[in-house]
């Protein structure tokens, strides 16, 4: 997914001199194409995320469309106040490209597990939060972010959902997308873990449960209309995210549903209020922390029983 993002960003930067990519000394091999073709629009800020983000704000204030790049927690948590006070308060066009969403770097340990990024970014005013499911969608999302003013957070996953690119559309900032229709349960997911949602829906279908799957590639602004409609139409809503169940996709959906007051039950699947201290592949950790297809099936069946 990251190669598609950087590939598209390179194409855009070749056409638009306002685009600037600043890395926090990460992206070995990944950024080569961009560096080679757009050398004057590339800065390595060093291992200094606070300055990277403040500087990105200063450059955005002067007319640049800035992308900062690093591994998920580094460009947002180390420099959270620079994002809040500088980039977001000034509504600067600073776009964080964070590779390693969720358990993408599962074997590297807790420091590299991005499991609170969505909730923390979602709380910042002006910030848009985008979680693409597939490389092609991430590339389209880049176009949207270049075209929209103000700050954003793009979570780049190692895994992908495997959905086919439609002939047109496929990503609309702030809009959900139905992947599969059903009537017994709506499974709302974000990112590559949507592959688990689809497998779960297939297994559920074999057990006479028709599950709809709603892709929510934008966590903020959340597609309130789609959530509201699903909550009114389905007897059960399930959210699935490779992230804490606090404040991310599940939190956003819960807020909309509570406001609607429809009383539809909600099951939030994701990481509990714990650190993922066990390491392993992305797939292993999904299984270990109860968010793979089998776990989704089990939670849905329990809720419908």
């Amino acid at each position: 997914m990251r190669d598609h993002v950087i590939g598209r960003l390179t194409e855009l930067a070749l056409e638009d001199p306002r685009i600037m990519l600043i890395t926090g000394d990460l992206g070995f091999g990944v950024l080569d194409l961009y560096r080679e073709k757009c050398a004057s629009q590339f800065i390595n800020a060093g291992v200094a995320e606070q300055n990277m983000t403040a500087m990105a704000t200063g450059m955005a204030m002067e007319g640049f469309i800035v992308f900062t790049y690093s591994i998920a927690n580094f460009p947002i948590l180390r420099c959270l106040e620079q994002l809040r006070n500088d980039a977001c308060y000034h509504d600067a066009n600073v776009n964080v490209l964070a590779v390693g969403g969720g358990f993408s770097y599962g074997a590297l340990g807790m420091s590299h597990h991005a499991t609170e990024d969505l909730s923390i970014m979602r709380a910042l005013p002006n910030m848009k939060v985008v979680v693409p499911s597939d490389p092609w969608q991430a590339a389209i999302a880049i176009d949207s972010l270049v075209d929209s003013p103000g700050p954003s957070y793009l979570r780049i996953d190692k895994s992908s959902a495997g959905f086919e690119k439609p002939s047109e559309g496929g990503f609309d900032l702030g809009k959900g997308r139905w992947i599969r229709r059903g009537q017994d349960v709506a499974i709302i997911g974000s990112g590559g873990i949507l592959a688990e949602c689809v497998v779960a829906a297939n297994i559920l279908a074999e057990n006479d449960v028709a599950a709809g799957v709603l892709e929510m590639a934008t966590i903020k602004p959340i597609d309130e209309d789609a959530v509201r409609a699903a909550a009114l139409q389905f007897p059960l809503i399930v959210t699935v995210e490779e992230h804490s169940i606090i404040g991310g996709l599940g939190g956003a959906v819960a807020e909309v549903m509570a406001q609607e007051g429809c009383g539809t039950p909600l099951v939030r699947i994701g990481l509990g209020d714990i650190y993922s201290s066990v390491v392993g592949s992305q797939q292993y950790l999904r299984n270990r922390y109860g968010m793979d297809a089998a776990a989704i099936v089990g939670r849905v069946q329990d809720a419908l029983a």
Binding site: I43, A45, A48, Q50, N51, A54, M55, G58, E62, Q82
Partner: protein, 270 residues
């Protein structure tokens, strides 16, 4: 396009406004604002290029107050330089006001960056300076920091970057009044040898008496050299009001009653 005042007159008016603002608003940080009155007066009267009728003019010099707690001094200098109506200063710190205790750009012409949490301004200034070099802009970027603020590691990230990228259009001005929030700088986290630290990071460093306008004019004039400039201003916290000078107390205390009257009288007789 500065006012017709001398920098000394402007500094006096800034001090007078600052004391009134913190008195009316019952706000703090008067010592920090008085400490920089001469620096900002010289900057706005003699150094920075700006047009108060067109505050976002692209070739303006950019000024960032990183020590946002001294916001009253910036609001005062902006009002006395024609950016905002003088009357609005009375609203500082009041319910519903846009003139917050820590400087904010929202609705306030002439404020480039909202600050208040320390260690933010220099990084943003670095971005502006880098942008200017890339875009061929001839303007300067000036960032005013406090001494206590130099405890923040983010500044040293910015200092490293500015030297590595030879941001000669960037000037960091440090208000070195030697007193921070709870105690002296020396007793908190000593900065000495301060000049050597900046120089070792690759900056051109000048030290100056931060209340000597002639010396400030010379030090802040900028240079054609490629490396970024640091002007360390030796200042007196609470400068201009004898009982506030060099006092930790007046970092937070607000002048009321007899203290306010004494402060005004002292400034009026200066």
């Amino acid at each position: 396009m500065p006012s017709t005042l001398t920098s000394e007159e402007l500094a006096h008016r800034v001090r007078r406004s600052v004391v009134d603002m913190v008195h009316l608003g019952k706000s703090s940080h008067v010592g920090s604002a008085l400490s920089i009155a001469d620096i900002v007066a010289v900057l706005y009267q003699n150094i920075l290029h700006f047009d108060p009728t067109d505050p976002r003019k692209s070739d303006r010099d950019r000024f960032i107050l990183s020590k946002g707690h001294a916001g009253s001094a910036i609001y005062a200098v902006l009002a006395h330089s024609g950016f905002i109506p003088l009357d609005t200063l009375k609203e500082h710190y009041q319910d519903g006001s846009i003139l917050s205790g820590h400087v904010s750009h929202k609705g306030v012409a002439g404020v480039e960056l909202s600050t208040g949490s320390l260690g933010h301004g220099l990084g943003v200034a670095v971005g502006m300076a880098k942008a200017a070099l890339l875009q061929g802009g001839k303007h300067r970027v000036v960032c005013l920091l406090s001494d206590g603020e130099c405890d923040e590691g983010s500044n040293w990230e910015a200092i490293l970057f500015a030297a590595h990228h030879q941001l000669g259009n960037l000037t960091a001005v440090v208000d070195y009044n030697k007193i921070q929030s709870l105690a002296s700088v020396a007793d908190t986290l000593g900065l000495e040898p301060f000049r050597d630290k900046w120089a070792a990071f690759g900056w051109r460093v000048t030290e100056v008496d931060g209340h000597d306008h002639e010396a400030l004019r010379k030090a802040l004039a900028g240079s054609d050299r490629p490396e970024p400039n640091c002007v360390i201003c030796h200042t007196v916290k609470g400068k201009g009001i004898s009982f506030m000078e060099n006092s930790v107390l007046w970092h937070y205390r607000t002048p009321q009653g007899e203290e306010y009257e004494a402060a005004v009288e002292e400034l009026n007789n200066a």
